[in-house]
């Protein structure tokens, strides 16, 4: 393409490039800062011991378990619902239908709701109205609603991308609609669906406000789904904002960032596999 010509154009060019460099440096600065300050805190004890004295001492094992537990509960509900909704809209509804539009609008609205409002809803609905108290169940189901739009939208895109011939061939061979959907369409779209699920895991792991209001902040090890739990993100919030232990806060933050890095890497990997598979 034509280069940026005169001095003024070049000035604009460098301004734009320096904006991009600035963003990159900011990201590197955040990650490097947390990594350098936090790496000394991470040890076997930090990962495996239950916090004591509000987190001033001990490790963060119950917070790690709490995070994974909440995420698991969220996925158990939102993956079947999200993928099911996507399958219904793409395979069982005409391309343009008012029902599809309505569901999509609702999902868009859900996606735009701030996490604190989800927290309020989860509190009044799961914790109070259904009487589940601050628990892994209340927190997990609140998270499930938060990640449902992502799973639904990415699944919809992945399923739509499966070539029509796949379905036609299967139907022509005498397979029923559900056989075609479950044995041909969903497997072909699977890596795309998994990408959405992985991204949702990232969102659940990092979510704080909604979890604080629905799962509580108890420091004990959650066992039953009805037990209260504290996630790593909530733990980090208390450690840092109440000045309990900055050292452990850095360690927790580093662990969160490492998890997100792994999750993003896996999501990219699965996306690449998906485009590869569809190309044949």
């Amino acid at each position: 393409m034509k280069p940026f010509g005169n001095r003024r154009e070049q000035l604009i060019y460098y301004t734009i490039c320096s904006g991009a460099v600035f963003v990159a440096l900011t990201l590197v600065a955040i990650v490097a800062f947390v990594a350098i300050k936090g790496v000394g805190c991470i040890s076997w004890e930090f990962l495996t011991e239950i916090p004591s004295r509000m987190g001033k001492e001990g490790g963060i094992s119950s917070a790690i378990v709490g995070t994974l537990y909440l995420t698991l509960v969220a996925l158990v509900l939102s993956v079947p619902l999200g993928v099911g909704a996507a399958v219904y809209l793409t395979e069982y509804q005409p391309r343009v239908s008012r029902f599809t539009r309505l569901v999509e609008l609702s999902a868009e609205a859900l996606a735009g709701i701030p996490s604190i409002v989800f927290g309020l809803f989860g509190f009044v609905f799961f914790v109070i109205f259904l009487g589940w108290g601050w628990s892994v169940l209340s927190g997990g189901l609140t998270l499930a609603l938060m990640i449902l739009p992502t799973i639904m939208r990415t699944s919809q895109e992945a399923i739509t991308a499966v070539p029509v011939e796949f379905r036609e061939n299967s139907l022509a061979l005498g397979a029923t609609k559900w056989q075609t959907t479950s044995k041909i369409v969903i497997p072909s779209a699977l890596p795309g669906i998994i990408t959405g699920v992985i991204l949702s895991i990232g969102r659940s792991v990092g979510e704080t406000a909604a979890v604080l209001l629905t799962a509580g902040s108890a420091l004990g090890m959650p066992v039953l789904p009805t037990d209260p739990a504290r996630s790593m993100a909530v733990h980090l919030y208390f450690l840092a904002s109440e000045g309990i232990s900055m050292e452990r806060a850095y360690g927790t933050a580093l662990l969160l960032i490492i998890m997100i890095l792994i999750i993003n890497y896996l999501a990219n990997l699965s996306l690449r596999r998906f485009s590869y598979r569809l190309k044949g």
Partner: protein, 279 residues
């Protein structure tokens, strides 16, 4: 038989989103509206006295707080986001663009509480040391939010810019326009509706953000005299007091959430209208 049962189950899955949004509206409003009715809508929105112990529920200071950090975030987040979008769509080689895109994805993936922690550990002391005030301030919130809204802005704005037909750019260049003239007078105006949507969604992200803000803004319920003074946002108000609030106090927090929700609905309507206008 099995086929129809499955279809019904799938139909139910699709219904969940609709049900969820209806339930959320009903449950939040059923808590918030009675209190706002009792206190008076004018009093609730425009009184600067938030004193739950004495039944005073005015959220004016938090409206100002939310708007201040949001506008502050947009002032530097939007130009930066636009520069990055133009860089990704028009300037960067595919390799560089790929690396930058993964970086933006990582920015989007970093939990908000980690941003808040970074703000608390780095930006707050920096402001206290070099700019003045207690450090915990609207400015600190605006700086952190400006970074956090970048992925939202870049994802949508970049797509909008890329969607401008190649012929427009080629036509403009063929007529002798320079590259910047082409970008600023042809590409950006053609992508206008997407760019507006990106900015408004970024605004929604900023106004709804909780953890990063609560950790760096100081959370004082007073109208700030300058941007280096502390503020409390609507979101912070909820997360700070929900743990111990009861009775009317708790209802007032739901009412705060309801006002926030209304803001988000309005912003989303603007986005939909803007995208429709672009078609």
């Amino acid at each position: 038989m099995k086929e129809t049962l499955i279809e019904k189950l799938l139909f139910f899955s699709a219904l969940v989103s609709i049900l969820a949004i209806i339930l959320i509206i009903i449950f939040i409003c059923s808590q918030g509206i009675p209190l706002v009715a009792r206190v008076g809508i004018k009093n609730f929105l425009f009184s600067t006295t938030w004193d739950p112990a004495n039944g005073q529920f005015g959220i004016a200071t938090m409206l100002v707080g939310s708007l201040l950090v949001t506008i502050g975030a947009l002032i530097w987040g939007v130009p930066l986001g636009m520069a990055l979008s133009i860089f990704l769509a028009e300037i960067a080689s595919p390799r560089v663009a790929g690396i930058m895109t993964s970086m933006v994805e990582l920015l989007a993936g970093i939990p908000s509480v980690v941003y808040g922690f970074f703000g608390l550990a780095v930006i707050v002391p920096f402001i206290r040391e070099y700019i003045g005030g207690p450090g915990f301030s609207a400015l600190a919130g605006a700086i952190i939010l400006g970074i956090m809204i970048l992925p939202t802005i870049v994802n949508i704005a970049c797509d909008a810019i890329k969607a401008v037909p190649r012929e427009y750019t080629e036509g403009s260049l063929a007529l002798g326009a320079t590259r910047w003239q082409t970008i600023s007078r042809i590409v950006l105006p053609a992508a206008r509706s997407g760019i507006i949507a990106a900015i408004v969604l970024g605004m929604g992200r900023a106004i709804g953000e909780t953890m990063a803000v609560v950790m760096v803004t100081g959370n004082v319920t007073r109208i700030p005299g300058s941007i280096v003074e502390p503020v409390r946002t609507m979101t912070s108000n909820v997360v700070l007091e929900m743990g111990y609030a009861s009775g009317d106090h708790q209802l007032a927090l739901f009412a705060t959430g309801m006002v926030l929700f209304i803001f988000i609905v309005i912003l989303n309507l603007v986005v939909t209208a803007s995208l429709k206008a672009g078609e």
